[in-house]
């Protein structure tokens, strides 16, 4: 009897709890949807935008089911039907807005198709043998990779291999290489040097450098070197994991020197250890890593960086992912102004050479750029300038743009943007190797 007396109270309390949780979901949903659609400049919203755009499909389902729950929980009141309709319309709107990145996927695919058609001709798919094509993603986007995580085969991984021990700095790399005989795989042991992002002050190899993609590419026959480099220690902190031992009073010259040192070590030591094909080398990086990718990839043959890199490496392509381009103004404000000594007036040559588009010439390797159209940290103009500079010199540069994609929107490889990106990336790597 005691139990019967309390059952309705318990049910009422449970319903109240569910109603509160549903309303909270909607309030958070409004905030997340705002972040998804409008660039908000405060730090937390900006950080959230990195992830919200990548999981909006899941959020869509959450808002849909919460709408049903809330409809069920409406008590018997006057105008119940009207309240029900209002909740339904609101919930459907919220869900629809969160479905926009998914709905926009065909636009990204069409952009990429157009870029490939211009670079390789309309029959570019015919250049890829069917045996190779069978190793690639069959379609630009699928729901199972989106909803259940990006599937990939296994590869060998060696972590924390030291390549630099100088001036008190010890730098390491992780290497991902294929398990199978490489003749069966499209990569043919081509090398990919991956440079992580993090505003030149933060970040690390591995966790901060899209390691699922490293593994996926290694399983396709590429030897992926995911490297550390010295970072500027300006005293700030970030949610991005950063090892203390790589931080110091470093400039861009130091960073390029250290990565250049890696290319030399690759030639003398690591190429033979990992059976890496130095005749086919790609450089890839995101954000600050994309800037360094541009500087190194396009400056490899520039007299300004003479002697810095190994001459044995044949750079076949660069892959900058949301790349900052303009040294002025990026390196004119504290703390990033410490990255280039002086200012654009007192040190114009350094500012010129650390602007990747200025390094473009006819002998440069082709490029494929990833750019989110909702990226308020590194806007589209940066990527467009690099593309224009390369195209003006007769070098192919494919700019793949993604509506609703914010900065760092490639971190979850199965998301709407990354799937399209990986589909074209693996084909670019094969066509250029």
């Amino acid at each position: 009897m005691y139990g019967n007396l309390n059952k309705p109270t318990l049910l009422k309390s449970l319903k109240l709890l569910l109603a509160i949780l549903s309303f909270l979901t909607f309030i958070i949903g409004i905030y997340f949807t705002t972040i998804l659609l409008i660039p908000l400049q405060d730090g937390i919203s900006s950080s959230f935008s990195f992830f919200i755009t990548q999981i909006s499909g899941f959020l869509m389902f959450l808002y849909l089911i919460t709408t049903i729950l809330l409809i069920k929980l409406i008590p018997t009141i006057k105008r119940r039907s009207l309240v029900k309709k209002c909740i339904l319309v609101f919930g459907l709107c919220l869900s629809f807005l969160n479905a926009l990145p998914l709905i926009a996927t065909p636009i990204s695919i069409q952009t990429a198709e157009n870029e490939f058609n211009v670079a390789y001709g309309e029959d570019w798919r015919a250049q890829i043998p069917s045996t190779v094509e069978s190793c690639f993603l069959p379609t630009q986007f699928n729901f199972y990779n989106y909803l259940l995580g990006f599937s990939h085969r296994d590869c060998n991984v060696d972590t924390d291999v030291q390549y630099y021990n100088n001036d008190g700095f010890q730098l390491y790399f992780d290497v991902y290489y294929p398990k199978l005989t490489t003749t069966q795989l499209p990569g043919n042991n081509s090398v990919i040097i991956k440079i992580h992002g993090g505003s030149w002050q933060f970040g690390d190899k591995s966790l901060g450098n899209v390691l699922v993609l490293n593994k996926y590419l290694a399983a396709q026959g590429y030897v992926v070197f995911d490297i550390q480099y010295g970072l500027l220690d300006a005293g700030g902190s970030s949610f991005i994991p950063t090892p203390e031992h790589v931080r110091g009073n470093l400039t861009l010259h130091d960073m390029v020197y250290q990565i250049g040192n890696f290319t030399k070590q690759l030639e003398t030591t690591f190429a033979s250890t990992y059976n890496a094909n130095l005749d086919s080398v790609f450089i890839m990086g995101g954000s600050a890593g994309a800037h360094l990718t541009g500087v190194i990839g396009l400056g490899y043959n520039d007299p300004y960086f003479a002697g810095n890199f190994s001459n044995a490496l044949n750079i076949k392509g660069i892959i900058p992912i949301y790349p900052p381009n303009f040294a002025d103004p990026y390196f004119t404000y504290e703390p990033l102004s410490r990255l280039i000594p002086g200012d654009p007036l007192s040190n114009p040559l350094a500012f010129e050479k650390f602007t990747p588009s200025n390094l473009a010439d006819a002998t440069d390797p082709p490029a494929m750029i990833y750019q989110g159209l909702r990226d308020d940290l590194v806007p589209l103009i940066n990527a467009e300038t690099i593309k224009s500079a390369l195209n003006a010199n007769g070098v192919d540069c494919m700019l793949l743009t993604f509506p609703f994609a914010a900065h760092a929107s490639d971190l979850i490889v199965g998301n709407t943007f990354s799937q399209v990106w990986v589909y074209y990336l693996e084909r670019f790597l094969y066509l250029e190797q």
Partner: protein, 150 residues
């Protein structure tokens, strides 16, 4: 509008039949997918089936809520089931979301296994509760007094 619209009983029956078929098909694909995790055209079909079964579950929930006679004994039971379904669906989606995020950053070890389990439990959990709701709806669709179709 939802209560008063005249969705035929036949349509509700057909949807619940489809609601039985899709989760079973999705589970079968899921077992294949988790056993042989490769990218293939076959799994493109799986992706569509998966999305369709989730959306259909939401549609059946909406129909049940609109046409169920909650004052009847069976109606009450089905109504309670819809609550369990919704809460389980939310937990399932959250499990998958966190699992997918974790597997994007961790390649091995305990956390990776945990994340993988979160995805599997979330996926099969949603499919099983969808199947249960569709089956219950279908088996009771002809019961007099349970629905407000008449």
């Amino acid at each position: 509008m939802l209560e008063k619209s005249n969705i035929p009983k036949k349509l509700a029956k057909s949807l619940s039949q489809l609601g039985i078929f899709l989760p079973i098909l999705s589970c079968a694909f899921g077992i294949l997918y988790f056993s042989f995790s490769v990218n293939s055209f076959i799994f493109d079909v799986f992706g569509v089936v998966l999305i369709a079964s989730w959306l259909l579950n939401i549609l059946i929930l909406l129909i049940d809520d609109s046409y169920l006679n909650k004052s009847s004994v069976i109606g009450k039971k089905i109504n309670r089931l819809t609550y369990y379904n919704i809460v389980s669906f939310i937990i399932g989606v959250l499990l998958i979301t966190w699992g997918v995020i974790l597997t994007a950053f961790i390649l091995d070890g305990f956390l990776f296994v945990l994340a993988f389990l979160m995805i599997i439990i979330g996926f099969f959990g949603i499919e099983i509760i969808s199947l249960q709701l569709a089956l219950t709806t279908y088996l009771n669709i002809d019961n007099r007094g349970v629905w407000k179709f008449e």
